[in-house]
């Protein structure tokens, strides 16, 4: 865990302490369980977004995909009688295909990620609405899928299944991002795609893989969301969820230019965002101010981080001056 992540963790604890003092209900098991369930749901898609952001790209279609996968999955298992493991498999295949398509358009056709995924945002939302004729997809009375429900909305010793899923995915993705050859390539491509290519790396494949990973994790989170809400209104389900994911990554120390950020950082970003949501509810702030609070906190957080970085750089310089060494401030930053 680097210093940035540690700072974020302290911020989470500080905000939590303040909220707990102002409204002790914050610490009730039911509240913690609900909030952590949301962390699990949003965390899955945020990790996917993180992979894309590291390459210097962006994935705006997340919310629409969550709606599309939601209506398809629920319709398949509730109305069409498709066994849920098959439906899950189909959805994952859909995620892979969408990721491949986005990656292909970005690397081979050389469209900008913002444009490609913005079109995705519009298209998948439209398809989702068309599929149900704007009707809400949901389960019938008495319809249940014990194993699927257990895996998605159940609890193990009070811990929501979504949190366990997030922990497993985060653990695996931490290894991929911070230990594997692919992860190193991902950072190299994000920091300097040309230099990576001149080192013999197939940079297009790396970028495409990032979009595929993002979509697969988005599908996974879509299924958790679907099972959690149980009814999906295709016009509104998942609206803005891509922005939650992007906000979490930015809070977690990611640069939208690519090449920077850690897995722990994005998870902490998700936790902080959900904590803020919870804060709005618990402190009786009008819920219409929800977004305004989040936006304000992100802005303050990012500004403070920026100023802190500048301050540390200055301090390193003066310290180096005193020590009379030739150390340069930009050296220390690289150990993340």
């Amino acid at each position: 865990m680097n210093k940035k992540d540690l700072g974020l963790l302290l911020l989470i604890l500080a905000v939590g302490a303040v909220v707990a003092v102002l409204n002790p209900r914050f610490l009730l098991p039911i509240n913690i369980s609900n909030t952590s369930n949301l962390v699990g749901l949003f965390g899955l898609s945020a990790i996917g977004q993180a992979f894309v952001i590291i390459t210097g790209g962006i994935e705006l279609s997340v919310g629409s995909m969550i709606a599309l996968v939601g209506v398809l999955f629920v319709d398949f298992i509730a109305s069409e009688g498709v066994p849920w493991p098959v439906a899950l498999g189909l959805m994952l295949v859909l995620g892979v295909l969408v990721g491949l398509a986005h990656g292909f358009l970005i690397t081979k056709v050389k469209l900008q990620p913002f444009v490609v995924t913005l079109c995705g945002l519009l298209i998948y939302r439209g398809v989702a609405r068309f599929y149900t004729q704007d009707a809400t997809a949901g389960f019938g009375f008495g319809q249940d899928f014990p194993l699927l429900d257990g895996l998605t909305t159940g609890k193990v010793y009070g811990v929501p299944a979504s949190v366990i899923a997030l922990a497993i995915v985060a653990g695996a993705m931490w290894v991929v991002l911070h230990r594997s050859v692919f992860g190193r390539y991902l950072y190299a491509v994000g920091k300097n795609e040309e230099a990576a290519r001149y080192s013999g790396i197939r940079t297009d494949r790396i970028v495409i893989s990032a979009y595929v990973i993002c979509q697969v994790l988005t599908v996974l989170s879509a299924i958790y969301f679907a099972m959690y809400t149980r009814s999906i209104a295709p016009a509104s389900h998942g609206n803005f969820y891509e922005l939650y994911a992007i906000a979490a990554a930015v809070l977690g120390g990611f640069s939208l230019q690519g090449g920077e950020g850690s897995l722990i950082g994005v998870i902490l970003g998700v936790i902080l965002l959900q904590e803020l949501q919870n804060l709005v509810n618990l402190l009786g702030i009008p819920s219409s101010l929800n977004f305004a609070v989040m936006g304000g906190v992100i802005l303050i957080g990012v500004t403070m981080d920026q100023q802190w970085g500048a301050f540390m750089a200055r301090r390193l310089r003066t310290r180096a001056a005193r020590a009379g060494s030739t150390a340069r401030p930009d050296v220390a930053k690289n150990s993340g």
Binding site: V175, G200, I201, D330
Partner: protein, 516 residues
């Protein structure tokens, strides 16, 4: 002070004097007890290895850095430091190594950027016509063959430099400081620049000329000021200026023969290039043979298509047509990855943009092309890549506090060594080096030459692209010269001369028995 057309007069009083300038940075004494003066119409060459204090000195001139102590006197007014405004008012103008020009504007707009003539009262509209009219005589004065309304985008590097010089003239400069002006200009353009310098001198304008290319300083300078470790290492007057004496002053000792002895017999053909066309000159096919154990120099003017050829051989850009054969086996390259798999490596021209991931550490950069070899089960092994990097650090004498520092904190020479280390850690068969010593100090240059020779001796086919005459002639076993996309001739050691390379580079045939 001076009137126009005043010839350089060694007796004329200096208008700019630096005395006992001292400037230290944390841990480094960048300038120490440094004094120099500038007379009207004088061309001063400043030489020194990287880190000798040249850039700090320039910043003192420009008012960007305030010295810790010492005085700067302009026209008899002594100050402890200059501000940028005082520097400009004193008539000091810079032509930077990295040109500060706007591609989307025309020449006249670039010359007057920030000082545009206005019209239309409060509407404050740029008077484009007046601007162009004002720039035309400046361009004429330096012999530029392009019009004031030429878009910047369509100018060559040399022409861009002329725009910078016109900019300096437009502010009525009395001292023009040229920072490495020829480092990216080969041959003919360099001559033109030296002519322009002579013209400025004839107008009574002083010129400070910083360059690693000593023979140009030899030709142009009236006086040479050598810096070493922030101190004045010595001054050479016109008649004393020789290549060897400059080198001696710069490094404090005479440089041993930096050029290796004649190569052994070259081996069989390693890479056969037949009919390769690139996007730079689609109509010109290139044939070339790279032999094992040979350093083939590739000379030519900027824009001759040398870098494009190198990129084609490394699989960066698909070649439009043509065939490659490696060790007798046909080779098709669709990506750099395929080139790397076959042992064809490129040290690119722009090490910051394409040679290194500057934000990554030395270790990470060195292991990048061969990461799977430094990993177990596709997990990177910090221990394995660290060991490999330490080996390369020893081999190449990469100077850094730690191997985990970001490569952006290294000097140019050490950065270049890291780029080389990336490839040396693997097994090169064909090593292409594009301007491998550009902007690198004399000591590191010699090391890179030795390294190329060692590679050749180990049976590697080395292709060295260079715009530096001394380097091409001193290092190559054969020299291929390109002109507008085609190989205009290949020289063997008996025919090596600056004249022959130059003739071929401009599309004429070499004298004597130069074959093609």
């Amino acid at each position: 002070m001076q009137t126009a057309r005043q010839p350089a007069d060694p007796q004329a009083a200096p208008f700019l004097i630096l005395e006992d300038i001292r400037k230290s940075y944390p841990g480094v004494l960048a300038l120490d007890q440094f004094s120099m003066s500038v007379r009207p119409g004088e061309v001063i060459g400043i030489v020194g290895e990287n880190g000798a204090g040249k850039s700090t000195l320039m910043k003192v001139f420009g008012g960007i850095v305030a010295p810790d102590s010492g005085t700067i006197t302009i026209d008899g007014i002594a100050r402890p430091a200059l501000t940028v405004a005082e520097s400009m008012a004193g008539g000091i103008a810079f032509v930077h190594q990295e040109l500060n020009l706007f591609d989307n504007l025309d020449v006249a707009a670039n010359v007057f950027i920030g000082r545009e003539p206005r019209k239309g009262g409060w509407l404050n509209i740029v008077d484009t016509r007046k601007q162009r009219a004002m720039v035309a005589p400046l361009l004429k004065r330096i012999g530029a063959n392009f019009a004031p309304d030429t878009p910047m985008l369509s100018l060559s590097l040399a022409q861009r430099q002329m725009v910078e010089i016109a900019k300096a003239l437009s502010v009525k400069a009395r001292l023009v400081i040229l920072d490495e002006p020829t480092s990216s200009l080969p041959l003919a353009e360099t001559d033109k620049l030296l002519d322009i310098i002579a013209g400025l001198k004839a107008d009574g304008i002083a010129v400070i000329f910083i360059s690693h290319r000593l023979h140009e300083i030899e030709r142009a300078a009236d006086r040479v000021v050598a810096l070493r470790d922030g101190r004045l290492a010595g001054t050479l007057q016109k008649h004393e200026i020789t290549h060897d004496r400059m080198v001696k002053l710069m490094i404090g000792r005479a440089l041993k023969a930096q050029v290796a002895e004649a190569a052994p017999q070259p081996g069989p053909v390693m890479l056969k290039v037949r009919g390769v066309r690139t996007s730079a000159h689609p109509s010109k096919p290139v044939d070339l043979d790279l032999h094992r154990g040979e350093i083939l120099g590739l000379a030519g003017l900027v824009g001759a298509g040398r870098t494009e050829l190198a990129c084609a051989l490394f699989g960066v850009d698909p070649m439009l047509a043509g065939a490659l054969e490696m060790d007798g086996v046909p080779l098709k390259l669709r990506s750099t990855a395929q080139a790397v798999e076959r042992g064809i490596f490129l040290v690119p021209e722009d090490r910051k943009a394409t040679g290194l991931v500057l934000d990554m550490s030395i270790v990470e950069n060195i292991s990048l092309p061969d990461l799977p070899a430094h990993s177990r089960l596709m997990m990177v092994s910090g221990q394995m890549e660290g060991e490999a990097a330490r080996r390369q650090q020893g081999e190449l004498d990469i100077r850094a506090a730690r191997l985990t520092v970001a490569t952006k904190s290294l000097s140019g020479g050490n950065q270049q060594k890291v780029v080389l280390a990336k490839w040396l850690a693997m097994a090169p068969k064909v090593m292409i080096l594009d301007e491998p010593t550009r902007g690198i100090d004399v000591g590191a240059k010699a090391e890179i030459y030795r390294l190329m020779r060692r590679l050749a001796e180990a049976g590697v086919a080395v292709l060295m692209i260079s715009s530096d005459m001394e380097e091409v002639i001193g290092v190559s076993d054969r020299i291929a010269v390109m002109h507008e996309g085609a190989i205009s001739g290949i020289l063997t050691p008996g025919d090596f001369s600056e004249e022959n390379v130059l003739l071929l580079a401009v599309g004429k045939t070499a004298s004597k028995r130069a074959a093609s």
